[in-house]
Amino acid sequence: MRALPSVRSALALACVIVLEAAGAAAQEKPRYGGVLTWFDYGDPGRLDVHAESPLVVQQATAGVYSGLIQYDPDDPSKIVPDLAERWTVSPDGRTYTFHLRKGVKWHDGQPFSAADVKASFDRILNPDFKSPKCGAALKPMVASVEAIGPSTVQFRLKFAAAPFLGNVASSWCRVAAKHILEKYGDLNTPEAQIGTGPFRFKRYERGNLIEWEKNKDYFVRGLPYLDGVRQYILVGGPTQLAAAKAGRIMLWDAWPPMKRTQAEELQRARTDVDIYQASINTIFLLYMNAQKPPFGNPDLRRAVSLALDRQELVAKALEGAGVPCALLDPKLVGDFALPLEEVQKLPGCRQPKDADLAEAKKLVEKHHPSGLDIEVAVRTVGNYVDRAQLVLAQLRKVGIRASLKSYESAAGYAAFGKGDFTLIAAQDRSMDTPDPESLFSVIYSTNAGSNYGRWSDPKVDELAERALKEPSRDKRKQLYWELQRHIFAGAPAAVPVAWVEGWFFRDRKVMGYKPALTTYDNNTFMKVWLRE
């Protein structure tokens, strides 16, 4: 990997500087005023935060709304009050009572009350309403939502669910106004963007930009510091990078992250920015179809897992920014993840790969003595095709001859959803919450929506279910460790290649911004201020 030594050390230095600056800034007094500029990687089109799922929608609307609770802008691993000033849990863990702030007003002047919370969550939890983020997370665990008086809301759960608070704190579970939902039916239009958040929705020029302005009546006195936030809609890496270099955007903490080459270029062009590497809570997976030959046969699935050189993929396709092999990333879920030292010694992951390659070859030969010919699918999005090339070369080493079938994005999703593939070389999946259960409910359980390979292991379902409902944190951790070890020992149809990281930058002027543990959270900028 070629990188100018001076730039590489500059990047390392930058990481140190960020930490120091963060410490120093904690002493400075926030300054009021200024407009933060950043960008959205696409045009949102539809703005309904309850119904949509792309990050662009979250970015466009985050500062306009508040949730019941939120991830702390100062320390994103903690959950702190938002519209609910405090909450209590019943001893059996099945009833959560949120006590709401009083005197909060919607941006159009109407008063906020528990009825709005009930209306929002009734909508999200409605079985006929498509809510792929908040709805998908909460529907399995929530039985009902009731407004007890004007300032109290109660959630009754189907079982004591440990991830519940984390899910409600997600920025997808925002509270919308009852009267707005009644008036417009949905939240897709700019006119319906009435929230209680630190910013008002000022304007949306399709394909161009989205702008927020300060909410002078925000219920937290003294916030926000900024006069407004402007996001330009910039499609394509070169345009985004050019804007960063020209100083037109102050922040790059979104998807897609910068590539190493772009980060180096930016560092050369601007010395007044901090560049850092961070996780984007996204896992890079390879899928096999467990319902069809050849990968209905677990031996062949194991062969692919043994043959895959995850470290090479991270080095070449992710430019070194990734955590190879892990099913859960310790940086994101803490000690729920198996220690990396254990994971990286497992077959398939250990280096050098000679033993694993030999075994993989034997497995392939046992069932296909003259080698195996397959078609490998990939969507032509991002650098998936480049990753696929590397995977193809690796598979060739064990006697699997693959040809590439590339799909346009939409057609690819349609094919994957229908199980119309043999092997998917690369497909990323972002986690919506920092709780370990999302990985299993979304990818590894039998009925999981992203379980494209339709792999079914009853033990996995059982362990995941128990872990979801286990109230004790220690016991949960044991269950997740058992679950991870079980999956690694088996022949899953979804092989974790790496947790993806990337490079981001922040203008030194931007203070008070801490990236959250998921890409979706902490885009409200409520505590961000600009130095002069």
Partner: protein
């Protein structure tokens, strides 16, 4: 042999630009045919360090996953030539048959089929190609199919008008007066006389086909992205325009030189064979 050489010499003298074009086209064909020998590495071999600038070892540098750009450009000649020639030969031949038959059958069938041609031509070509590729799926053969569908209508239109004007000519009138059946008239009189136009259309459209294929790749719906398509290389190069300008420049130059040579040659052929179609170098 001497006669052929002196013939070529005369061609070069009368159409100097055409001769230049012919040389360029010959280089393209030679590169395409000799690709396995000429290219130092395979087109999909991602074995090297990425983003290396041009050097002695990699004269045109390497791309974003460490493939040799020179090898890919050479192999790209083969792909472009294959796609360009196949789609144009199919497209213009189909158009030829369609146009000539339509001209002779005449009547309602002729009017109806020409309306279909009009309707196809009214659609913006890139969108038509894009939708076709999305519907068919990305493969080299589907690119050829999509391009064929794109080229057939215009070819049929041109050849139909030509066929109609031949129909009015004295020879054909005489033949019909004598009682020659239509198919014989077509085979013996019309087809040979449209042959020159056919050749001109082929040479002119090969460059168009190559450019459309590259545009499709640029928009993400061309040949599968791992294939060494010049257009796909151009697209990938735009993503790394500043750190690695060699990634987009060389494939772009390759396309440009190819199209340049084909245009020059096509113009020269047109001037020589069919002065009525002179729109070119005169």
């Amino acid at each position: 042999m001497r006669g052929a050489l002196s013939g070529l010499g005369r061609f070069a003298a009368r159409q100097p630009l055409g001769a230049v074009g012919a040389v360029l086209v010959l280089i393209l064909i030679a590169t395409a045919m000799l690709a396995p020998r000429l290219a130092p590495h395979g087109p999909k071999e991602a074995a090297f360090a990425p983003y290396l600038p041009p050097s002695a070892e990699f004269p045109l540098g390497t791309d974003q996953i460490g493939r040799d750009v020179l090898s890919r450009v050479i192999w790209g000649a083969r792909l472009s030539l294959y796609v360009g020639l196949a789609s144009v030969v199919f497209g213009v031949t189909l158009g030829w048959l369609w146009g000539v038959v339509s001209a002779y059958v005449g009547g309602v069938a002729d009017t109806a089929s020409q309306r279909v041609v009009d309707a196809l031509m009214a659609l913006p070509p890139i969108i038509l190609a894009l939708s076709l590729m999305a519907a068919l799926g990305q493969s080299v053969n589907n690119v050829i199919l999509a391009l064929t569908i794109l080229l057939t209508p215009t070819a049929s239109r041109t050849l139909r008008s030509l066929a109609l004007s031949i129909r009015e000519s004295p020879y054909v009138e005489a033949a019909r007066a004598v009682g020659c059946p239509t198919w014989r008239v077509i085979a013996l009189h019309v087809l040979p006389n449209t042959f020159a136009t056919y050749i001109v259309l082929v040479t002119v459209n090969v460059s168009y086909a190559i450019v459309v294929e590259a545009s499709l790749s640029f928009l993400g719906l061309g040949a599968p992205p791992d294939e060494p398509s010049w257009g796909a290389m151009l697209t990938a190069g735009t993503q790394a325009m500043e750190p690695a300008p060699w990634m987009f420049m060389f494939p772009g130059l390759a396309i440009s030189l190819t199209v340049f040579g084909l245009n020059l040659l096509g113009d020269a052929v047109r001037d020589l064979t069919d002065p009525h179609l002179r729109g070119g170098l005169g």
